[in-house]
């Protein structure tokens, strides 16, 4: 567990960080929380010659919220999303997801943006960002651009980020109706990457109809997947067992899992079906419960 020799850079501005990336290109890696990168370096799976630490770049831990969206700076740690009660009511999926990530030690250090940029197809945040219809801000030598979650993930460990770009913020649309979310995960032990995970968020309007549904999937393809066909089935409909089953089947059909020691492709596909079904049914019962209470 001994990394290759590397140079450590600790820029104090975003421009400086980008300049370092421009200078070193593929030889450089950005260090945020280090919870994936450092173990990979210790195993010499990753061997960057330059580490660019974002820890001293001011402003990257900022959080802003307006009528349209919540913006989380790149250095936002998993733990702050798990424990900040202020976010729970409007953005429940953040907490639901954060609590599933690794263990408390990792959550104290690791960042949501780092996880997204790392793009492990079994990661929880990728699935969650898709379910949230989120987007990211990317800064590089040519300025700043916004990339939607649906466009961001390209392949295993590969995103739209260029080697000289930094993912600087994550954006999540502000719900317009009552919001329900859940994150379901099959893991072999606590802290494990998902065998299969399903991230679900729906809004339900005053007529009991689903708005802006999102179904993100982890561990069942080369990237985090968005079960868009299943989600569009739900749009504008009231939840019913029949609809839930149909959506679950559609979500399952949208996957492309690999057979491995965590389970066969069939098994993983069925876990997607199961979790979408279980997740939506739990949302349905919470919604019904809320109605009964207010009635």
């Amino acid at each position: 567990m001994f990394p290759n020799a590397f140079e450590y850079q600790s820029p104090t501005s975003l421009d400086e960080a980008v300049a370092l990336l421009v200078e070193h290109g593929y030889e450089a890696k950005i260090l945020a929380g280090g919870q994936s990168l450092l173990p990979m370096m210790k195993l010499r799976v990753a061997a960057p010659t330059v580490l660019v630490d974002l820890g001293r770049v001011p402003g990257l831990d900022a959080r802003t919220e307006n009528d349209r969206e919540l913006s989380l700076g790149a250095m936002t740690r998993h733990a702050s999303l798990e424990w900040d009660e202020d976010l729970w009511a409007r953005y429940p999926l953040l907490r639901e997801t954060a609590a599933w990530i690794a263990d408390p030690l990792v959550r104290n250090r690791g960042t949501m943006a780092g996880s997204l940029a790392h793009a492990d197809p079994a990661a929880d945040w990728g699935a969650a960002l898709l379910a949230l219809h989120g987007s990211v801000t990317v800064d590089g030598p040519n300025g700043s651009r916004r990339v939607g979650a649906d466009d961001f993930f390209v392949d295993v460990f590969t995103t739209r980020l260029e080697p000289d770009e930094v993912l600087t913020a994550v954006h999540i649309p502000r719900p317009e109706h009552d919001v329900f979310a859940t994150h379901l995960k099959l893991e072999r032990k606590v802290g494990d990457f998902a065998v299969v995970a399903v991230s679900l968020q729906v809004e339900i309007d005053g007529d009991g109809r689903i708005r802006r549904p999102g179904i993100g999937l982890a561990g069942v393809g080369p990237t985090s997947l968005h079960a868009t066909a299943a989600a569009s089935l739900l749009e504008g409909q009231p939840l019913s067992l029949e609809l839930i089953r149909e959506a679950a089947a559609k979500a399952s059909a949208a996957t492309d899992p690999a057979s491995d020691r965590r389970g066969s492709a069939d098994f993983k596909r069925d876990m997607v079906r199961l979790f979408v079904e279980r997740g939506l049914r739990s949302i349905e019962s919470r919604f019904d419960e809320g109605r009964r209470r207010s009635a």
Partner: protein, 783 residues
């Protein structure tokens, strides 16, 4: 559990562990804490191939790296006649490969440098050219006539290592033919790894001026290691000083000698500087041993009333590339012949054929008294299948077939004499604790609702404490163990033993034995182990042997001290020797208990006021050769609920009732049980060192080799029955391994019990959720 505060007469009390004062403060001194002046670091170059011819090794770039002091290859070692080393099993093993490699991660070259990171950089610069060869990963394939011969260093032109058998083959076959019912199962106990938190490592420090080697090493058997080193390296034994500092878990992993040790010693002798080698987690999981890997076919017969008639077990054992199993020399399949378990079999037969494969060498006795875990798993799984076939309750079947408590000492059909036990009482206690009959009622109701709930029982008998000298030795050295006690003038004691604890609590439990015998407090007794210059010779700590052997030696050495103390007491009390009585704390004159002296007073007199003609001092040494092994037993009951959606088996309850004879410290025993149960849980549900068809190890780190945390581990409910060993000086048996030996079958039996309505009797462990899901899916009963 409440801690008892009275420490006089400490035997049987939950006294806080003395060693924890330093261990829980982070003040232990482990191998990697030791840094010597001018110390260098060693890293190993390992093979990426499971089987390949070595075309060439180019070390030039590594040698040229600033900070690299030495690069060793097999060719260098061959000049010293050290390219190969003998294994404990009588085979030989490559230290650094010369002609070819036989498993992935095999040691090929060693690089010694100023820092560990530089040594790793140097290792990355060693260029090895390989020519890949056909790979054999399945031992059953290895034994086929057309399989590639892996070990071309042997005259024998196949992959067969040994055939071992015990019992009556013909009589067993005949009894099976005559049986009303015969169950057959193929039971696999997969390859696992003990994975101690502290991996293996050493520091070799050769002093050229004095010709003395000081060798710090993570060792469960420092004396045996010294002797092996003297034999292999040709160093004089009195000039080898082995120090095994605090050891962070062993579980059998730290019994053998590994190539990294030899390379570090050669490096230190060559360079005249201390050389440290500490393996990484990946190196630990992939190269320094494994456990289990038995493929067992069983036939178990019973009459129409359910009484067992015969047991036949045919086994193929995967020993990897070199037979580096750590078994007593006369027992190539360890104590697998305990396979008849707790049941009264009229006849039995067992055989094992061992094979070479392109996998890491082994296998060691992982928290197991030499293949006892494999045997217990086999018989407990087979009894479960018999109960299913007969349609009887598995608890009732066991009660019906137990060796009765009136049958001890009991001669088993495969040659052991069980010392003691009360199996029915132990199982009854477990069933009472878990309210077994109510659970069966609940299960019937759940089954009617289409739910899958299972109750698994394991009533195992272990065989530990190797062992009696007439049959137990390692490389000829008898498996006794020893204790030396020195009582100082103020009544304070230093005791040294030939064992080496790795977390078992010897500094407390052996102090309790000695303090009990001498009428002292545990605070008065300092226990030291692990330094071959100071401790008496012994074979070490593994196979649950420390209390049965060294624990016996401790009691008997203390009694020798007390015997001399009695004579001194007679002198002080001014009575004759035979008028002195001992009340457990004091000597007193017969008939006058107020006329008494304490051991502290006797100790002072041993140095100041002796009877005429008596040799001064108060010391004793005892080398204890146990007359028999000890046979701990237990009754474990697991309750699982199957998630019909995911296939996960959730352990709802687990009750463990153990009988290890006299209990020295209930808290220490409970700790041992908790640890071993957690390991057994992992073996049943999470762990396997698996390989792909090219021999690539699929579990080379803790991301893939899963170690349970408190989150996964069920809540353990423990209790005990006490049936003392009749031959052990204090009636104690070993206990460290029982939970690992006994629990995997309880978990697996619970899952099979849950799935039995589907006609399922056997699934291979580890019982990953997908395996159970596939069964549910086949039967169309998934959620």
């Amino acid at each position: 559990m409440a801690l008892e505060t009275t420490e006089l007469r400490p035997l049987g009390k939950s006294i806080k562990r003395k060693e924890d004062a330093r261990l829980v403060r982070g003040q232990g001194r482990f191998l990697d804490d030791i840094k010597l002046p001018r110390m260098l670091y060693l890293a190993l170059v390992r093979s990426p191939y499971a089987h390949a011819r070595i075309v060439g090794i180019d070390t030039a770039r590594a040698r040229a790296l600033p900070g690299v002091h030495l690069v060793l290859t097999g060719e260098d070692l061959a000049k010293l006649n050290l390219a190969w080393m003998p294994t404990l099993a009588g085979d030989k093993q490559m230290v650094l490969a010369t002609d070819k490699v036989l498993f992935q991660y095999q040691e090929v070259a060693a690089v010694i440098a100023d820092t560990r990171a530089l040594a790793e950089d140097g290792a990355a610069l060693v260029e090895v050219t390989y020519d890949p060869l056909p790979v054999v990963v399945d031992p059953r394939r290895a034994l086929e006539p057309d399989a590639p011969v892996l070990r071309d260093d042997r005259e024998q032109r196949d992959n067969h290592i040994f055939h071992w058998e015990v019992g009556e083959r013909a009589a067993t076959d005949e009894a099976l033919r005559a049986s009303a019912v015969v169950v057959k199962e193929s039971i696999r106990m997969p390859r696992v790894h003990p994975a101690p938190v502290e991996p293996c490592g050493c520091i070799a420090d050769y002093d050229g001026a004095m010709g003395k080697l000081t060798w710090y090493v993570t060792s469960q058997a420092p004396h045996a290691h010294r002797t092996v080193l003297a034999m292999v390296a040709g160093l004089p034994e009195h000039k080898i000083h082995v120090i095994s500092p605090d050891v962070g878990g062993g579980f059998g992993n730290k019994v053998p000698v590994f190539p990294g040790y030899v390379a570090a010693i050669v490096g230190s002798i060559s360079l005249g500087r201390p050389v440290k080698w500490v393996e990484t987690r990946t190196e630990n999981l992939t190269s320094t041993n494994f456990a289990r890997d038995y493929f067992m076919d069983v036939e178990l017969g019973a009459d129409d009333k359910g009484r067992v008639t015969a047991l036949k077990v045919t086994t193929v054992a995967d020993h990897g590339a070199f037979d580096a199993a750590a078994d007593p020399t006369k027992y190539p399949a360890g104590l697998f012949s305990i396979v008849t378990g707790s049941y009264d079999f009229p006849t039995a037969f067992a055989e094992v054929d061992a094979a070479y494969t392109n996998k890491a060498p082994g296998g060691i006795a992982y928290r197991c008294s030499f293949r006892v875990t494999e045997a217990s798993f086999l018989i407990e799984r087979a009894m479960n299948s018999l109960a299913l076939k007969l349609g009887v309750d598995p608890a009732d079947l066991r009660f019906q077939n137990f060796i009765g408590s009136d049958r001890f000492p009991y001669d088993s059909p495969l040659g052991w004499t069980y010392d003691s036990g009360n199996y029915a009482a132990t199982l009854n206690r477990a069933l009472d604790m878990i309210d077994y009959r109510a659970l069966r009622q609940e299960q019937a109701e759940r089954r009617a609702r289409g739910e899958f709930m299972g109750i698994g029982i394991s009533t195992f008998t272990e065989i530990v404490g190797a062992g009696p000298s007439q049959s137990f030795d390692i490389l000829g050295i008898k498996m006794f163990d020893s204790c030396e006690i020195r009582v100082h003038p103020t009544g304070k004691v230093i005791a040294r033993l030939g064992t080496r604890h790795q977390g078992q609590g010897h500094e407390t439990t052996f102090a309790q034995i000695i303090a009990e015998e001498l009428g002292l407090s545990t605070e008065d007794v300092l226990v030291e182990e692990g330094d071959t210059d100071t401790a008496p010779y012994g074979l070490g700590t593994y196979a649950s042997r420390s209390t049965p052997t060294a624990g016996g030696a401790a009691a008997l050495a203390a009694r020798r001290v007390r015997d001399k103390g009695r004579k001194i007491a007679a002198h002080l009390l001014e009575v004759s020797d035979d008028e002195v009585e001992w009340d457990g704390q004091r000597f007193y004159a017969a008939g006058a208990p107020e006329h008494a002296v304490s051991m502290a007073e006797v100790s002072l007199a041993a140095y100041t006021n002796l009877p005429a003609g008596m040799e001064p001092g108060l010391e004793a040494t005892f080398y204890y050769d146990p007359p028999n092994l000890t046979f701990p037993n237990g009754a474990y009951v697991a309750v699982v609920d199957i998630d019909k959606g995911t296939g996960e088996a959730k352990v709802r309850r687990f009750v463990a009732v153990d009988d290890c004879g006299t209990v020295i410290n209930p808290m220490v025993v409970e700790g041992q049980i908790h640890g071993g149960l957690t390991e057994g849980f992992a073996i049943a549900f999470m762990q396997e060192i698996a390989f792909d068809e090219d021999g690539n190890c699929l579990a080379p780190n803790f991301t893939e080799y899963l170690v349970p945390t408190a989150v996964e581990a069920p809540k353990w409910e423990t209790d005990r029955t006490v049936t003392p060993s009749p031959h052990h000086p204090i009636g104690a048996k070993g206990v460290g391994e029982s939970p690992n030996v006994g629990s995997p079958a309880a978990f697996a039996n619970a899952v099979m019990d849950a799935l039995s309505p589907l006609g399922v009797t056997n699934l291979d462990i580890p019982l990953f959720p997908w395996k159970i899901w596939e069964v549910l899916r086949q039967h169309g009963v998934t959620e």
